[in-house]
């Protein structure tokens, strides 16, 4: 990938001046240009910011939202002279309408504070910019009911603090100081917000603010060439993986319900006592005339009802627990109760329950892997793994509870033997074909307990009927017909049942025998030795014979069996 150069960034020249700023206080027109440059810089980096967006909703649009917001604040250049205050006022006014997304909304509040602090000013010098940043930081905090640290808030506050301590008094050194302060704070965001740490990213909104400050500094330096670390190159692949991983986070609680209750006389203790019947994590704080009530309950309506009986409610808020937790304890300074003291996000540790699957064939192995199997035991050509191989796989999961899917009746015993030696809780399901094993895997739910999973998986496996088409290893008698060695045979649920002129004909006969009900799921897995053309022909014939039956065709890659088909 190219690392940059003028050719890659035609938009830069149009917004950045070629000469460094002369360090005099900024005029209205210069401030407008500075914001336009910052907006352009933000736009170029939006993709990188999107990539690390995990909080509060991991929807990957923080960069786009902030860029849209900032772009929307810029009015076209005015014909007459404008004071600094007039320009910042216009920016702030436009920002409220243009704000998109949480970070965009906070950005609009920063601009509002910035504008208020600079309202009467003709030009902006360094100290004025520092004061305006501080006002922006305050306005952003004030706008949020529950400010969360480790976000753009932390970064803007650090930027303002560093700007105040800047060595020089000219705009550039103040903004440079703000930028390094912001960068330091950004690097610390994962320590403040667990969801970031878990994802291995910094906060996306905070990153957006750093980029804006970078844009402003670059404008004042008159830089045409971008600094190192920009746009697409700034996306680190592990960020994307981290972002994906946080999608797994969830809440173990019910509803968090909060309100402020006002009445002439209130008794916190008796309210607490009453609320205890419908929930936990109860906090009732305040004085005899106004109380803040907080409860975790599955019945928020009931919690509100308690309040309405006693007085007037305000600030009703019913929210999901997990996101609420950190903000709330921070907000009222309450120490967490025992029940609250859970990690804010689940750790990516060893799963409580793991699955071990015995399977053979490359396609089947890939399918089992794609369904989240913890460990796969290669059954080999004859589906006959050793007890030791199964035992090793069970041990490698590291889980206290393991479910083993033997997927062949000859493997069940070995699996049970391994289970006895494993020194942990192991359930061996009696799956006798690979399709049964796959259906059992589809029914696995990592949020449920071992017993529940065993029941659901066994029942899913039990609903599967399996056809296996291979060739007779020796002459056999079948329904009075003698089948010679090497001729096609079809087994239905492990019992020799049909024969035919070709493997395909045998399969069709077997499927006819099973007579799938309307809406049944039929899956056809073709073996390692079967060429694609044969599969295509078979698909056409399946459609002719069973026109209403949808058949999913998958490369199983299994040895010996030309076709394995499942009906459920």
């Amino acid at each position: 990938m190219s690392t940059g150069g003028d050719a890659d960034r035609p938009s830069e020249k149009s917004v950045l001046t070629a000469d460094p700023h002369d360090n005099s206080p900024l005029t209205g027109a210069q401030i407008r240009e500075l914001f336009a440059a910052a907006a352009a810089w933000l736009e170029q980096n939006a993709a990188a910011i999107n990539a690390i967006n995990v909080f509060p909703v991991p929807d990957g649009d923080t960069g786009s939202n902030m860029a849209d917001t900032l772009r929307g604040t810029i009015d076209p250049p005015s014909t007459g002279e404008q004071s600094a205050g007039e320009v910042t006022a216009a920016l702030a006014r436009n920002a409220l309408m243009a704000a998109r997304g949480n970070s965009g909304v906070i950005l609009s509040q920063i601009l509002r504070g910035f504008a208020e602090a600079t309202a009467a000013m003709e030009r902006l010098d360094g100290p004025a910019i520092a004061k305006a940043l501080a006002a922006g930081s305050l306005a952003a905090y004030a706008a949020l009911e529950h400010p969360v640290e480790g976000t753009i808030l932390t970064v803007v506050r650090a930027a303002a603090e560093a700007a105040e301590k800047a060595e020089g008094a000219e705009p550039r050194s103040v903004l440079e100081a703000a930028l390094s302060g912001a960068r330091r704070a950004l690097a610390q965001t994962p320590d403040l917000l667990p969801v970031l740490k878990q994802a291995g990213v910094v906060d996306s909104g905070g990153y957006g603010l750093v980029v804006i400050l970078e844009g402003a500094v670059r404008f004042l330096r008159g830089e045409l060439q971008p600094e190192s670390g920009h746009a697409i190159e700034a996306i680190r692949p592990e960020w994307l993986e981290g972002t994906a991983a946080t999608h797994g986070s969830g809440s173990p609680f019910g509803y968090c319900t909060q309100y402020v209750l006002s009445a002439p006389t209130l008794d916190p203790a008796s309210i607490r006592e009453r609320l205890r019947a419908i929930g936990d994590s109860i906090l009732v704080v305040g004085d005899a005339t106004a109380l803040r009530v907080h409860i975790h309950t599955d019945d928020p309506g009931e919690a509100l009802k308690h309040g309405t009986r006693l007085g007037v409610l305000a600030g009703i808020k019913i929210d999901n627990m997990q996101a609420q937790y950190d903000r709330f304890t921070g907000d009222i300074g309450a120490s967490p109760t025992r029940d609250d003291a859970r990690p804010a996000t689940p750790t990516l540790a060893v799963p409580v329950i793991s699955t071990v699957v015995v399977i053979s064939g490359r396609g089947f192995t890939e399918i089992a892997g794609s369904l989240g199997t913890s460990r796969i035991v290669d059954g080999g050509q004859s589906m006959n793994p050793s007890v030791k191989e199964i035992l090793t796989a069970i041990e490698e999961t590291g889980s206290a509870q393991v479910i083993v899917l033997p997927n062949n009746k000859n493997v069940i015993l070995s699996a049970e033997q391994a289970a006895k030696l494993a020194g942990r809780e192991v359930a061996v399901l009696k799956t006798t074909s690979i399709p049964q094993g796959l259906s059992a895997l589809l029914a696995f739910n990592e949020e449920k307990g071992l017993k529940e999973n065993v029941i659901a998986m066994q029942s899913a496996a039990g609903a599967v009927r399996t056809v296996e088409v291979t060739r007779a290893a020796r002459p056999v008698q079948l329904n009075g017909v003698s089948v010679k060695e090497g001729e096609p045979i079809g087994l239905i649920d492990d019992v020799l049942a049909v024969t035919g002129d070709s493997p395909e004909e045998t399969l069709l006969t077997a499927l006819q025998r099973l007579a799938p009900a309307p809406g049944a799921a039929v899956a056809l897995y073709y073996g390692a030795s079967v060429q694609q053309e044969r599969v295509t022909v078979l698909q056409v014939r399946l459609h002719e014979r069973f026109p209403h039956q949808e058949v999913e065709t998958i490369a199983g890659g299994q040895p010996f069996y030309d076709y394995i088909l499942s009906v459920e």
Partner: protein, 284 residues
Amino acid sequence: MALQIVTDSTADLPDVVARELGITVVPLTVFFGQEALLDHVEISSPEFYRRLVAERGFPRTSQPSAGRFQQVYADLAALGATEILCITISSKLSGTLGSARLAASEPPPGCIVYTLDSLTVSGGLGMLARAAAEVAAGGGTALQAAEAASRLIPRHQITIMLDTLEYLRRGGRIGRAQALVGGLLKIRPLVRIEGGEVTPLERVRTRQRGIDRLFEIVTSTAELDRVILEHTGCEDDAAHLAARLKAALPDVPIEVGWIGPVVGAYAGPNGLGAITIQRVSEAG
């Protein structure tokens, strides 16, 4: 009326219903590439799914700005509202509540604005807004309306069978439903909205199996008051399931409707959902 009810367009309220009940709807925006369309205003549900399938893209969405809410509050106050209750899509699915709240922090003179996180979406949110509007029509206060709406939150459940998890994943709303990914096998995931976010229920191998599960879920719900079936473009399947349910539950009202563009951008086409609503006891 002294109390006015505001919700957002993800409530998927038909225009005529919103007008009749006096509910003000603030639209979110759905984007096909750079083309921004106001949810339900500039693009209808049937047109959205037609384009979703034809253009094979993954539309983005965006919440209304705080300024937009502020304007709506100001307009309602100018018409005489002294209290406004704004009920929005779950805060776990969208930042809309943030805009609504920010605008509420500077209410128009003489007017108090309350916001409520519905913890739900689409027909669930629409139902909360309707309940609040009934309280408003009866001369109730904002707090009474909020209470009436809140009581429905734990009494309803949304279960949706999706054709694919891809739209949820790309849109960053997949949450714990990640666990339902079918890998190399074709599966139909069934998801729920629980605690305001998308949670996994199970995965089935065929569409018919998924529809059968919805039927079982609805018919096994205790104290069932009514049912809303919603779909993302598969009208026939919805009508067919409605007919089956009517035969099985002759006394339970069943509504059928479309899931709108913004929610559809995450559900993807050919999804079918059932919202079961249990009776809310008047006692206690």
